[in-house]
Symmetry: C2
């Protein structure tokens, strides 16, 4: 029951403003939704944004996609919606690599202020996208470009380079209690 | 470099669909932005949503508010934008209690499918809002209503009752490296 005035005073950092590399990782909820929230916030500020989703199928039309359309936030599903049950991993790999090519061009293009590479850690960790190439591309990005990367087990090289890294840790999850995924909440 | 097919198979839970209580807590980034992402996703699914912000000033117009307006997601700033430097804590306390009254009515009204009580843990932890009353209100909510609560140090009573609890843990933060908060990212 501490009162607010007992907290430590705010100290304004003196550094420069510049584009950030932000990573949302961990096994908990909120990695993608927090990135969606940043997109919405940034779009509201007039920033040029884009969402690139590495796992979701290009024809996926989840709740967020309908809202992103309404906000004129461009998005692309780069994957084939595959999972560990996918029968054709070669095709998934090819799509992920084409997706990375598109992401790389977007990062270097100068056309954006905020890019989200959603679930990009998976194809990196599976060895489909070269982590060193991702790192070099991030280092070569325009000065004011923010890039958000999401997914479990963010590679150490990217964590070391990133400005802000948050781990979403599950304390408990309705799914484990036997409640199925629900429209509008999970997708 | 584990391949996707090595992960454990998906098991579909057999429980019922119902409204969830979801808590985003911890000292890291993403508590509010993940709630914003859920709002956007839910709105895209046609759910009836509303954002109630307990700390932000009613006239605040951050990036998210402009986008929420564009999506027709109603929101209300219930606080006075106070912080630990606030000079008039009695006024802040009164606003928080009025805000809770409004939130309670919204929860029990049957008019919503998803409500976000953003930063509600602070006035609860300061003793301004009775945690037992919050708990009883959540228990009395309509069967299909989802309620998301955000803020640091979520009270144990609420964590125990909640369906899904995620702790956002800061691994590192640009702010600590001396980079100031930036429009479109932090607010």
């Amino acid at each position: 029951m501490s009162q607010p005035h007992t907290e430590k005073p705010y100290e304004k950092p003196q550094g420069e403003r510049r584009g950030l590399v932000i990573i949302n990782t961990g096994n908990g909820k909120g990695k993608t939704t927090a990135a969606l929230g940043l997109l919405v916030r940034a779009q509201g500020r007039g920033l040029r944004t884009r969402l690139l989703q590495f796992i979701k199928h290009e024809s996926a039309n989840f709740g967020e996609h309908r809202s992103l359309k309404a906000l004129n936030i461009p998005f692309a599903g780069l994957g084939d919606g595959f999972s560990w049950t996918s029968k054709d991993l070669d095709h998934s790999k090819e799509l992920a690599q084409m997706g990375w090519k598109e992401a790389r061009e977007a990062i270097l293009s100068g056309d954006y202020d905020l890019l989200v590479l959603d679930e990009v850690t998976y194809p990196i960790n599976w060895g489909w996208i070269d982590v060193q190439e991702v790192l070099e591309t991030l280092k070569a990005r325009p000065h004011m470009l923010h890039v958000v990367l999401t997914g479990r087990n963010a590679p150490q090289e990217l964590v070391e380079y990133a400005d802000t890294v948050t781990e979403m840790t599950p304390i408990k999850h309705a799914f484990d209690a036997g409640i199925p995924a629900q429209k509008g909440i999970e997708h």
